[in-house]
Symmetry: D2
Subunit: 386 residues, 4 copies
């Protein structure tokens, strides 16, 4: 049987061509124009410069642009020109800066947004320089080393009339957004208590961990790096509340020589104006990786375990019946969604979902927490709105 005969058998009397046309009409007929789920035409997207090409930038931030719909990369800033050019070739980025000529980005019209992915100790300087260059800035968490730096960063954004965001990606993670929505909708009744435990085992011989153990570069210890997820995510679920006091204690293991400059472990309690508490722990001494949030309400509870990882978060809801587990379909989207969220904030010059002010708030809370722990857990009163 010839190919023509086979096809004739397959497509029967109908000529293949006209059947295909009919099918095209049928299967391809849905409207597309303006579909918000589709990527924007590249030439219209916001243009980003990435500052710092370390492990996190190469492994998470840059790949996150692949699925972004309103954001594209146009420039790399790096002290390693060979690496920058290699990555540029792979990702279609052709504009390069280093830490010497960084301020020249002010003259570069192909950059709208700057993403600071440097070690924490450099966040303040480069954020402020980028804002002064007239760019919108998304700065990695934690925001910076001190409350004073954070205040200066916020002031710089205001002076420049540009948006400053802190990259709290959890606010764009679909499972956490689902928890936030359920809590706001009253699925747990009244919130009664939040528990948050986060940590991992810091490896002083691995470069991405090594600088986290140096105070000048990291700003602080486990609370700065990993505990901040617990605190920030917990507060994400309590809009409109205020922190009225803080207490904490260190549990850094005695004699562990990783922790000569920053704390290895800390426990904390935040008291809220609404009368409830958040209790958590943060550690560079847990293994395997810990990332757990629990929300206990008057009529239901949510457990997230893990809660704040890159891909594998989920919600377990107990409320009126057997527990149910929810897992958002496509878990990669938090990185891309964060980029697009900031692009839209920058485009409209309106505040990002996790603005500089939120980063400043967290710096104040951690500062109070360290003050308490330095006094062995004494209650430190504050008045910090969520």
């Amino acid at each position: 049987m010839s190919r023509r005969e086979v096809l004739a058998a397959g497509m029967a009397a109908a000529g293949a061509a006209s059947a295909a046309e009919a099918l095209a009409q049928q299967a391809e007929g849905q409207p597309l124009l303006g579909d918000p789920a589709l990527p924007e035409v590249p030439g219209q997207r916001m243009r980003w410069a990435i500052v710092g090409l370390g492990t996190f930038a190469v492994g998470q931030v840059i790949p996150g642009f692949a699925d972004a719909r309103h954001s594209r990369m146009t420039a790399f800033v790096s002290g390693n020109p060979e690496k920058a050019r290699d990555l540029g070739a792979r990702y279609g980025v052709s504009r390069f800066y280093d830490y010497e000529n960084f301020d020249d980005i002010a003259q570069d019209d192909e950059i709208d947004c700057v993403y600071i992915v440097l070690p924490v100790g450099l966040h303040a300087e480069y954020t402020i320089r980028a804002l002064e260059a007239g760019k919108h800035v998304l700065c990695e968490k934690p925001m910076c080393n001190t409350v004073e730096e954070a205040e200066a960063m916020v002031a710089a954004a205001e002076a420049a009339n540009r948006q400053l965001g802190v990259a709290y990606r959890v606010h764009f993670e679909p499972n956490n957004l689902d928890a936030q929505r359920r809590i706001a909708a009253g699925e747990l009744g009244t919130m009664r208590f939040i528990s948050a435990d986060h940590g991992f085992s810091a490896d002083p011989n691995w470069p991405p961990h090594k600088w986290r153990l140096e105070k000048l570069l990291a700003g602080g210890g486990s609370m700065f790096d990993i505990g901040i997820y617990g605190m920030n995510t917990s507060l994400m679920m309590l809009p409109g509340d205020r922190v009225v006091s803080v207490s904490g204690t260190y549990s850094t293991p005695a004699g562990d020589d990783r922790f000569t400059e920053v704390e290895g472990a800390i426990e904390y309690r935040l008291r809220m104006a609404s009368g409830i508490s958040i209790q958590g722990s943060s550690s560079y001494c847990y293994s395997p990786y810990v990332s757990r949030q629990r929300y206990f309400g008057s009529t239901g509870s949510i457990e997230m375990r893990p809660a704040t990882t890159y891909y594998d978060n989920s919600i377990e809801l107990e409320a009126g019946g057997a527990p149910r587990t929810f897992r958002a379909g496509n878990p990669i989207s938090q990185f891309s969604a964060q980029l697009d969220g900031f692009s839209q904030a920058a485009r409209t010059n309106t505040p990002h979902r996790t603005p500089g002010a939120m980063g400043l708030r967290d710096m104040r809370l951690i500062e109070a927490l360290y003050a308490s722990a330095d006094q062995g857990g004494a209650v430190v009163e504050v008045d910090i709105p969520v």
Copy 2:
């Protein structure tokens, strides 16, 4: 076909009788004598009086004797003679006392052990009277209303040369024993932190909950009743350690009129001499029921969720690979095992696994915790060995 023919077909040439004999030899041949898994001959078991025939006694304690191997009931003490006699007929118990003639048990040779299942406010009095009557006493948790009562109970046991136990059934629950064994064996490396959340929603209209809201009868609030599971179970995993300070805060909902006498909710932190902390919450305002323990170590972690319920506890272990869930086969045994454990302690007049001293320790810890919470969370230093 006649029945004989059928059987002949089934059993073939071999005569059924001799086959049965052969089978009896084969299938029934394992030795039994002295098998510790089998129940002891009733006449040799320790004999118990149950004091108080409320919901918990009828629903859990008394049925627990069905599967006990070294314990049997011989007497009921109750203010409701009709109920006592009805239960007696059903369970083969024929000796009855009331709260007036209770001290007459001293003359009753058919009672070795007394189980106090009264409201907390009566524990001290009836425990001491039973000890003075020469009986060994297992007292329900929490032990009593105050540290002073606990001290008097321990002193009475010593004076009478009888065993006093507090019914911390979790120490006989197979999943918690498995966790204890794994932790002691170093499966988590060095313990770094413990988190413990426990609670339920107290219903003031349900008699078994109603008395728990009255200070005179309950001794305290949620911490006395449900939070104590978290604290006691956490300490069960830290043998040889000491509590060096305690802090706590109340989260009793403002305006909730269930809580005019006792606290509705409390958070706590215990600092240990080993340098680690236990953080927990206890609430009469959670729903659904919360019973969660987590143990975070340097190389592994255990999550128990639920941790301390009657039937459904399990362990999830994360250490060196994917998480694994373990669930003890026959979960009913904690009630029966506790009875048998105390029977053996009484028989040999050696300390029970959860002795009066442990109950006294917990009363001291809760007293310190309340003192801290009364001061808004101030650190209260103690020196209390586990």
Copy 3:
């Protein structure tokens, strides 16, 4: 402070005695008489003889009486008199028979029910002898070796006007009853398909497994012993349907010398008059233990994994939202509930929930299945109501 002072402090103004009385009234006040959850007075319960004291009898059947409410043991029948007397002393059983004088039970008024726990090849003979002795008989599963034996057993029960039950304990297991109830209530919509896989690894050197590999004693292979759970439990969910055809294939591993007399593994498909199929597998070559049932419906599905074990079954329901897991509170009850169920059937001389006729049905199905497998999987038509 004296003991009196301590107590006075604890109980305040109220005299302890009157407080205790008040409490007794409050905490002990619920009515009891006639509460169906409480055990019946022993003298009124149905009285059982246990025939065969092998591993399963000693490990599961006899302990099951501890929590039974309408059943008690009065006699043991065994070829091992020493073992019988030892167990008798422990469990309060004082009447003993052996396989020689077994028929004398006809003259024993202290026996109402007889539980046959012998190897399968002896079921028919001892069941019929017990029925002829005027006793009601609960016979372990599988019912017997052949359809002819099963027919003779059913006929003997009819002739004696006594109840005959087959010990399909799953019909008394709370999680399976929950599945049955949900399916009947339409929670899955219309049933579409059932999948059932069951098996374990038979150990020819362990006595309780050894006789299962001998055709004369076991009747058949894995399908008789473990696959029958899958088939019987699946049919439990399809009341009113009929089996219209059966097909099966053997997967006994070539050269596995455990399986010279009985099949090691078999797969089966049952076609129902309603148009749906049940597909399952049964194996003596799986490890670890497999016990899985799945029910797929037009609007929901249930997965039970494990489905038919002694203690640890659960239901996972997917219907209209995220999956939910249900686990019955006290999982030990299937053994006790089965005893009490049969006691009630015997007392009222009405059919047991899993009567002899159900055992006969299953023998017919397995016979047809073996006939199909002997022909390499050819469809064997039957007409057997559920």
Copy 4:
């Protein structure tokens, strides 16, 4: 405090610039060149034409290119030019064809590979035309309508000396690859049995489902569309084995007017030369979505639930201890990995992991299965290597 002062405080004595340089060296220092995890330079990647812009193409295939490293799109073939141009603008695709001028791709040097994403009834024609145009072709599953079509497609690839692949994405899904690796490594011992259930509820009013119910366009019913996942994935775990017989039965609900042309539901059994069976079900009448694979071995078992979905698959392994759940980190990769896998096959002109021959094999198996079901489940002997 001025910005300079703030920064000076933050960075202490070290000048910020030199610290940044040091950090760049430290954090950006890892080598990159040749890292296989990074995307290839776009100009060197294989270039793809997508044929058919329906729901699956727009929702899964096209977005899959975002994370591909060796593949990029250069052309769209569609009967809807407006849609094609809109998508082209968004994704940087500027070459367009329709079903009339499709054969002109032969002259287009910017196309290396063609992905056929049309309804099944058009697969054969467009695959053969693309091969005749000198392009490598990845064809969506199922391969085509009939064995004869499949044979013609394979012959056309051979004649053209081009690669033909069938888009069995599961062979690139990390969790299934993990299962395949574990099984090959003997983690389950010897394979004993495979169970596979797959299905969903077909909605005749939803365009992407509608054509699946028409025989001319879909080729067959649920087995063609969804059951094929179960059969193909099961065989993926049995390399080197042969199918020796097939049997199946239809369970299409009587009177369901969705199924006038194709079967709604079918059950199947494949017997393998190794002596084991695969049993499965396939249905357009299950809800919610069912995708379950289980592998039972002599020393272990794997359950995948779901097994073959886009994002949420996982493995539960039971072997030597408590069950363990494994979930691949970044679950989006199966679409991208498949594209890159075929790009490499095309670049080197060596067979794809799931070649046309595999699609032909599956067409033969389904044809035999339908033949069996047409005869009520009779065994149909075949001899088809995996």
